[in-house]
Subunit: 137 residues, 2 copies
């Protein structure tokens, strides 16, 4: 009952914190190869989208729309990839990724492609600042 939300340790280790929206924590995947956000609904024990009641799903959907449109605005992707997989990290999280025809994995999915390329500190600070400012979080 009222178990507190705790971000999965692997998600925390692979990402930068952007901010909290109404439902979800917004993370920037620390991989400069793709503009890649992750939304994590701040509820303990969630694994599947269908575990969320419909009202919370609507909030999550709104947050997916906001982050997807922000990536469109900032990065003009050829395609968005939106996915809730969770095979490695079971905690419910939604990937929102801007894809380009020339990117490091196109047209394959990004998961499991080579090694992460961490942002340089300055680039991370800039990206985090821009994303948080646009999302107002």
């Amino acid at each position: 009952m009222n178990e507190p939300f705790e971000l999965d340790a692997r998600l925390a280790g692979d990402t930068h914190f952007i901010g909290d929206l109404a439902l979800s924590r917004v993370l920037l995947m620390d991989d400069a190869r793709w503009p890649w956000l992750i939304l994590v609904p701040r509820r303990a024990g969630l694994r599947e989208l269908v575990d969320l009641e419909v009202d919370a799903q609507y909030v999550l959907l709104d947050e997916i729309n906001r982050t997807a449109r922000l990536l469109q605005h900032l990065h003009a992707p050829d395609k968005l990839n939106i996915a809730a997989l969770g095979n490695v990290v079971a905690q419910l999280h939604v990937h929102v990724i801007a894809r380009h025809h020339q990117d490091a994995a196109w047209p394959s999915p990004v998961w499991g492609r080579g090694e992460r390329v961490a942002y340089a500190p300055n680039a991370a600070r800039r990206a985090i600042g821009a994303l948080a400012a646009h999302l107002g979080c």
Copy 2:
């Protein structure tokens, strides 16, 4: 204006037709390695989830929930994978896939893993019949 919906030829070729829900055509990926449904909103010219107005997104979300819960009921997956990628087929479509710890790709995503293993005709007929009956379509 009022351009008719036409299912992408590659999606049509790789799947079996299950039926039409209020918004989406429901397809069974013709790959017996994974219980794998695809929802295709029947609107011409859609590419991105964010191209759908919010009311239609709610209908799509309801159809995702119904198909995801049906796969849970029929296949007791260890994890659901739900994704709108569209890097190969740009027409908006949502994958709803039942994953098991012993399946042919776990814990990797299923896309691009080896060759499709088509259902035997009898197995396809059984699967299509069961899915259509449960979805009422």
